[in-house]
């Protein structure tokens, strides 16, 4: 089976202090001062992909993994890491345009890439990324390709005859479906899905393969590239008030404090469970 996992590199916004949030020229916030990271949902998607490969190979079926990202040369370090983790192919679609708020453009690029290489039967993406993102990209990729999409997926396992067993979160619990590819899987809040870390030896042995670099212009028409922001501009910034109210539980002994906590705060709530 051929799987394509798409990921996005984002700024680690938790590292920005309130004073760093300044709207600069071109209505942009400068986040270049903070470290980058793989968007957490995409990190889960990559780990889930690797877990799937391990399981499928144990059952004797071959799995070929490709990873795709869109952006500048700076991202190659991440692709090299994926090679070291035994992805078979790492692809970067070179882009210098501002496509941050353009899920339609991004999904078109991915879908067109897939149409050209005609290969993957399964596309795995994180459901959403940081600020301003809207959980649209995986759904739009599926729509462009006319493939089904399972959203909020948290686990993928091999099933018989090339089928996939996909667990996904729904309002009232976990849904387990067995599906036949092609399909798009949008990875939700998956437990145990930090991306594994390659050893130095694997970096030396596998991490140096050549990254395939493609031009975005071949996958998206110029007009969209030049006018991609779908009319969204930052007009202002307001800090979110994260303050919470707190109460100090009074009592002269820990036992008395526990009693007060139980009677005044917990008893009623426990009844409602």
């Amino acid at each position: 089976m051929n799987i394509l996992t798409c990921f996005k590199i984002v700024s680690d916004l938790d590292l920005m202090s309130e004073s760093d949030w300044v709207v600069e020229d071109h209505f942009r916030i400068n986040t270049s001062f903070v470290k980058n990271m793989i968007n957490p949902y995409d990190e889960s998607a990559l780990e889930i992909t690797l877990l799937y490969k391990e399981q499928a190979e144990k059952l004797g079926s071959a799995v070929n993994l490709s990873a795709l990202t869109i952006g500048s040369k700076q991202l190659d370090a991440y692709l090299k890491t994926l090679y070291a983790l035994r992805f078979d192919k790492a692809v970067r679609i070179e882009n210098q345009h501002d496509l941050r708020f353009s899920p339609d453009a991004i999904s078109t690029v991915i879908a067109n890439y897939v149409k050209v290489i005609k290969k993957p039967e399964v596309i795995i993406l994180g459901r959403q990324s940081g600020v301003g993102d809207n959980a649209k990209t995986p759904l739009l990729v599926a729509e462009h390709l006319g493939w089904p999409c399972i959203s909020q997926a948290v686990k993928i396992e091999p099933a018989s005859e090339g089928l996939l067993k996909v667990s996904s979160m729904a309002d009232d619990g976990l849904v387990i479906e067995t599906i036949r590819p092609p399909c798009v899987l949008s990875i939700g809040n998956a437990p145990n899905s930090y991306l594994r870390i390659p050893t130095l030896k694997d970096k030396v042995n596998y991490g140096k393969k050549e990254i395939e670099v493609l031009e975005i212009e071949n996958y998206l028409n110029q007009a969209v590239l030049e006018q991609p922001s779908e009319g969204h501009n930052i007009t202002g910034l307001k800090p979110i008030n994260h303050k919470r109210q707190g109460v100090v539980i009074e009592g002269s002994t820990p036992a008395e404090k526990a009693q007060n906590l139980y009677h005044n705060y917990l008893q009623e709530r426990l009844k409602q469970l």
């Binding site: 590292l15 760093d20 470290k35 930090y194 050893t199």
Partner: protein, 481 residues
């Protein structure tokens, strides 16, 4: 060791402290039997050390004295604890029926004395609290370890800790003015706060760095300094070679400049902090602070020194500032790390050493090469120098590995200790010190005699004199049986 039964120990402790201050809950005892050194096995639910008999919360020096006296009279091992951020096994309860004596509730800031530029506080005062209080009044301790939100004054003094601005303010030993400590006999001793004296040896140093193996620190007086962050002169550079970096640090120090920050990261360690602007590069960070004319002059002079080294490229100081603002570890970061370790089975550990300028690069290079070649499953081997002196600097080795094909209990023997062994043995062989600022703890004691050479006589005599029964934190600094 002790012939006193668990029940007798608990009953006596209750009679001294009251029931609420003597904790025997098994979960608490388990957590109190280890520190960060054993976090891999602990996170996986294994507790391999003898559990303490109780954790006691002490409120004042008299309670400390009473508990110590009782432990001493009955040969019961006692482990002092404050912030619980130890990294080298100093908090492990190495023998059966130990008492963990927690001073974290002795957390009063007793006096801030801006006229005499000093502050006095109890041992359980968190450095963050003291620092926040001081900064509000325009002062600082100048002490800024990465564990500032976790560590407390007693532990900070007991481990000879050091902070990120040490090249200007010094390590904790340069900051401590006076101390109060209780010895195993219950003797309460106070060293007065004076600017200097020549009345015999400096006995502060019996207490500073004792790691709970000689006495229990109850009160600390430290110097304070004017806090003027607006004058900070921050410089950041990328460069290709650690050797060049050490040369620059040496030149800055030898020329007589006093930066507050002087840090040099190698490519591997730097990659986990600076990949967004320094791919495949070393990173050098310098900062001058203090009164504006002095900070500016120092900053400019350091810039001039670095400018002579063509491989250095200046970076926007904001890149360094944002990184620096996120450097410290609070409880949420500790919790996050635990989840990550559990899920990835990847763990990061460190060993910090020091050596003179002529030796540091060779130690660095040999250790990094040996660990890379000799150890399996490594995912990062690198380090940084973060504290410089007139005659040399430190090296903080960082090594991450995937724990595979072994029981979590074997992580220490399969990976951590063999790596430490390489670093410690190479350092001692080259004439450096095997411990720069985390203390000896319990896992570097096997080299303590080599570390000291003929001067071990002095160290050992301190133990014999102050803790002849060996009840203070058995196996720490001094090897256990």
């Amino acid at each position: 060791m002790s012939t006193t039964s668990k029940t007798q120990i608990v009953e006596t402790l209750i009679s001294i402290l009251g029931k609420e201050r003597v904790i025997t809950d098994e979960e608490v005892l388990k957590e109190s039997s280890v520190d960060r050194f054993r976090r891999f096995e602990e996170i996986h639910g294994y507790f391999t050390q003898p559990l303490p008999v109780a954790v006691v919360y002490l409120r004042n020096k008299n309670e400390v004295a009473a508990v110590l006296k009782f432990a001493n009279e009955h040969n019961i091992n006692l482990v002092a604890r404050t912030g619980d951020s130890a990294t080298e096994g100093g908090l492990e309860t190495a023998v059966e029926n130990s008492i963990v004596a927690d001073g974290s509730e002795m957390n009063k800031i007793i006096k801030i004395d801006p006229y005499n530029m000093q502050a006095t506080c109890e041992c359980g005062t968190s450095l963050q609290d003291l620092e926040d209080e001081l900064r509000e009044q325009g002062y600082t301790t100048g002490h800024s370890p990465q564990s500032k939100p976790l560590a407390q004054m007693g532990g900070l003094v007991a481990t000879r800790s050091i902070g990120q601005f040490s090249t200007l303010y010094g390590g904790i030993e340069d900051m401590v003015v006076g101390l109060e400590a209780v010895f195993p006999t219950g003797e309460i001793t106070k060293i007065k706060d004076v600017p200097r004296r020549a009345a015999g040896p400096d006995i502060r140093h019996v207490i500073i760095g004792n790691e709970g193996a000689l006495c229990y620190i109850t009160e600390v007086t430290v110097k304070i300094f004017k806090y003027r962050p607006e004058n900070n002169y921050l410089l950041g550079y990328t460069l290709n070679n650690m050797k060049t970096g050490f040369e620059i640090l040496r030149e800055v120090m030898a020329e007589g400049y006093k930066p507050s920050i002087a840090r040099l990261y190698d490519v591997e360690d730097g990659a986990s902090h600076f990949s967004h602007f320094a791919e495949d590069k070393c990173v050098l960070i310098l900062m001058a602070e203090g009164p504006k004319p002095l900070a500016d002059a120092t900053g400019k002079a350091m810039e001039k020194i670095v400018a002579k080294y063509v491989e250095c490229e200046k970076v926007d100081p904001r890149l360094i500032q944002v990184w620096f603002d996120n450097l410290n570890w609070d409880v949420s970061k500790v919790a996050e790390e635990r989840t990550e370790i559990m899920e990835t089975k990847n763990i990061s550990n460190t060993t910090e050493i020091s050596a003179t300028w002529d030796r540091i690069y060779d130690i660095y290079k040999t250790c990094v090469e040996r660990i890379r070649n000799e150890m399996p499953d490594m995912t990062l081997v690198g380090g940084h120098s973060s504290h410089s002196y007139l005659n040399g600097t430190n090296m903080y080795f960082v090594y991450n590995y995937n724990v595979v094909d072994c029981n979590p209990k074997q992580e220490i023997t399969k990976y951590h200790l063999p790596i430490k062994k390489i670093i410690v043995e190479e350092t001692i062989k080259a004439g450096g010190s095997m411990c720069h600022h985390h203390g000896v703890g319990k896992h570097r004691t096997r080299w303590i005699q080599e570390e000291y050479g003929s001067s071990y006589y002095i160290l050992e005599t301190l133990k014999k004199a102050f803790d002849p029964k060996g009840i203070m934190n058995k196996g720490t600094i001094f090897p256990g049986e």
